[in-house]
């Protein structure tokens, strides 16, 4: 039975609530003070707390964090015109508020909704164990995403997964499928970004023989292939506008009509879409249909970039190094702690995909070495981890790198990296005294890479020292 705690110093209010709760079939306890409320809460488990803010021995808000931490829902009871209290309550996670004076009917709905929400929340919590597919990491950010996967898996609602390129959007889509009731049925992933406009429509919806040049035979589309299972539209932002319209119709009607076909065929699929684009922005620019966006974003999961999962880099690296070593038939390698530090210092614009590519390079570069060190990293990844001593900088431009705290605004990480790289190159040319071989030796980078970097920063390089110092 649902258990509700009423904390209010006004006996009439307590009586009113008790009548409502009794009528709704819930058990309840009443307290008139902060002290009594805290004592009751610590002795029993409550699903919902109806909390007055003005109590004889203190403010009800002081109890709020305890209730929220214990996962109980809280409805705040405020006096007439006390909007500030309601604002604060919401800030700390209260479900709703009711303003005095109120009628019985006015409190029934918030109580029903709060308890319904709690019930759904508990169903979601009971989902464990979750099949993680190949998702690696124990950071808070990734755990939040996994919780969302669990929530999405028990429903059939469309999910939009967003995140930078290489963050693992397809893995998360697969995880939703594998944890859903559709798991035994197909999971069909369509990379809209890899399909030219002329092929998207027939690939998705299929086509009849002779419906266009090259349609030599009747062909089922991927939507039909996904019948009963999950259809993943990767890079959904790349879907051409005319196809968006047809696809929206398919979603609404749950029927698919092949290109050149006259009849529709019913189809049952769950949609998981993914993109690294800002679809809201695209809607404003009329590049993406607003009605389709609402349809595909019944639930949303935003994946964090790797740079915000620093804690996970180590685990992903260990796992991937092991996997790659097995794949390439080489022995398992030890990894030095400073290698992890070097990885953590990089900003990973290509995220996990980029990390895997780098690890592949590292394994090749390590050869028969039994331990992986930072020296096995590609040079540009080592440069990013360098820390410059103030003594190195002698001109004004390098101050922006070293004395960040002196600036009013922190530069973007990209600007910071660019400056660091520029200053390194300037210092390198100076120390190498114009000798490119020596520069390659000091920096550990190849001549072509060195010239590439010099070109990137518009430095003329060796033999013309004027431009570099």
């Amino acid at each position: 039975m649902t258990n509700v705690l009423i904390i209010d110093d006004d006996p009439k209010i307590c009586l009113l609530f008790s009548k409502v709760l009794k009528h709704m079939g819930h058990h309840f306890e009443s307290a008139h003070t902060v002290k009594k409320g805290r004592s009751l809460f610590s002795s029993q488990s409550f699903d919902l707390v109806l909390l007055d803010l003005e109590l004889p021995d203190g403010n009800g808000l002081e109890l709020l964090p305890e209730f929220i931490d214990s996962d109980s829902e809280v409805i705040i009871i405020t006096g007439t015109g006390d909007v500030r209290g309601a604002e604060l309550a919401f800030k700390y996670g209260a479900w709703d508020y009711v303003q005095k004076p109120f009628l019985m009917d006015e409190v029934t709905l918030p109580i029903t909704r709060a308890l319904q929400y709690r019930k759904e929340k508990q169903v979601a919590v009971n989902l464990v164990p979750l099949i993680r597919s190949k998702i690696v990491g124990e950071s808070t950010a990734i755990h939040k995403c996994l919780e969302e996967v669990a929530r999405a898996s028990v429903t059939d609602a469309s999910v939009l997964i967003t995140g930078e390129t290489g963050t693992g959007k397809e893995l998360f889509a697969r995880a939703i499928h594998e944890n859903s009731k559709r798991a035994p049925k197909p999971f069909i992933a369509v990379d809209c970004g890899a399909l030219p406009e002329t092929l998207v429509e027939s690939t998705l919806f299929g086509h009849e023989k002779g419906s266009f040049t090259g349609a030599q035979k009747k062909q089922n589309g991927l939507i039909t292939q996904a019948d009963g299972g999950t259809l993943m539209l990767d890079e959904v932002g790349d879907l051409p506008l005319n196809v968006q319209k047809t696809f929206l119709r398919t979603l609404q009607e749950r029927c698919v009509r092949p290109v050149g076909g006259e009849s529709e065929k019913p189809v049952d699929f769950r949609l998981v879409a993914a993109t690294n684009l800002d679809l809201d922005q695209m809607v404003q620019e009329k590049l993406f249909r607003e009605d389709l966006l609402y349809r595909i974003r019944a639930m949303g999961i935003k994946l964090p970039p790797l740079r915000e999962r620093e804690k996970d880099i180590e685990e992903i690296t260990i796992k991937k190094v092991h996997e790659l070593a097995q794949r390439y038939g080489i022995g398992t390698k030890a990894i030095s702690p400073d290698f992890f530090q070097a990885l953590a210092a990089y900003h990973w614009p290509g995220n996990i995909r980029e990390l895997i590519n780098v690890l592949e390079y590292v394994l090749a570069s390590a050869g028969s070495d039994s331990t992986i060190y930072p020296k096995h990293l590609p040079p540009e990844y080592r440069v990013s981890g360098l820390k410059f001593e103030p003594a190195l900088s002698s001109d004004k431009s390098s101050d922006t790198v070293v004395h960040l705290e002196m600036k009013d605004e922190l530069p973007t990480l990209n600007d910071f990296r660019r400056n660091a790289e520029l200053n390194y190159l300037k210092e390198l040319i100076h120390r190498a005294d114009g000798d490119r071989k020596k520069a390659c030796q000091i920096s550990g980078i190849s001549q072509s890479r060195l010239y590439g970097l010099l070109g990137k920063h518009h430095l003329s390089g060796f033999g013309t020292s004027d431009s570099t110092r």
Binding site: G214, P349, L363
Partner: protein
């Protein structure tokens, strides 16, 4: 960009595709691998630089052999071209997670268009990251 082209017993078609790529998408390096073992060997090389794998499959056996190599295609865009006789096996083919499935009786222009799109996309991504 580098492509690996695998074709079991469909030499003529793979030669045609190779020729079309050379003619219409110059600058793409193509590695042809007829035998499954050769394909595995190529994929097992670290830093193989393969961005796209075009797999022309004419038998269920070959499809199953390719499924065993699934992990090797992790970071590779995969195009599957099935022969008419195993068209019904496309559901199995989806387990390879291809970005495009075509059929051997097509004129291969569709495959060419997909490769072109992937090439443009890879270029865009590289530009973004530098």
């Amino acid at each position: 960009m580098k492509i690996i082209l695998h074709s079991d017993a469909m030499e003529k078609r793979s030669i045609k595709l190779e020729k079309l790529i050379h003619e219409q998408l110059p600058g793409i390096e193509i590695k042809v691998s007829i035998e499954i073992e050769g394909l595995k060997k190529d994929l097992c090389k670290p830093l193989n630089g393969i961005s796209v794998a075009v797999l022309m499959v004419s038998s269920i056996k070959n499809l199953e052999q390719l499924l065993e190599l699934k992990a090797f295609f992790d970071n590779t865009k995969l195009i599957l071209i099935l022969s008419e006789k195993i068209k019904a096996a496309q559901t199995t083919g989806f387990q390879l997670n291809p970005c495009f499935i075509s059929y051997l009786d097509s004129d291969l222009n569709d495959t060419l268009l997909v490769i072109k799109k992937i090439k443009e996309r890879i270029y865009d991504l590289e530009t973004q990251h530098t």
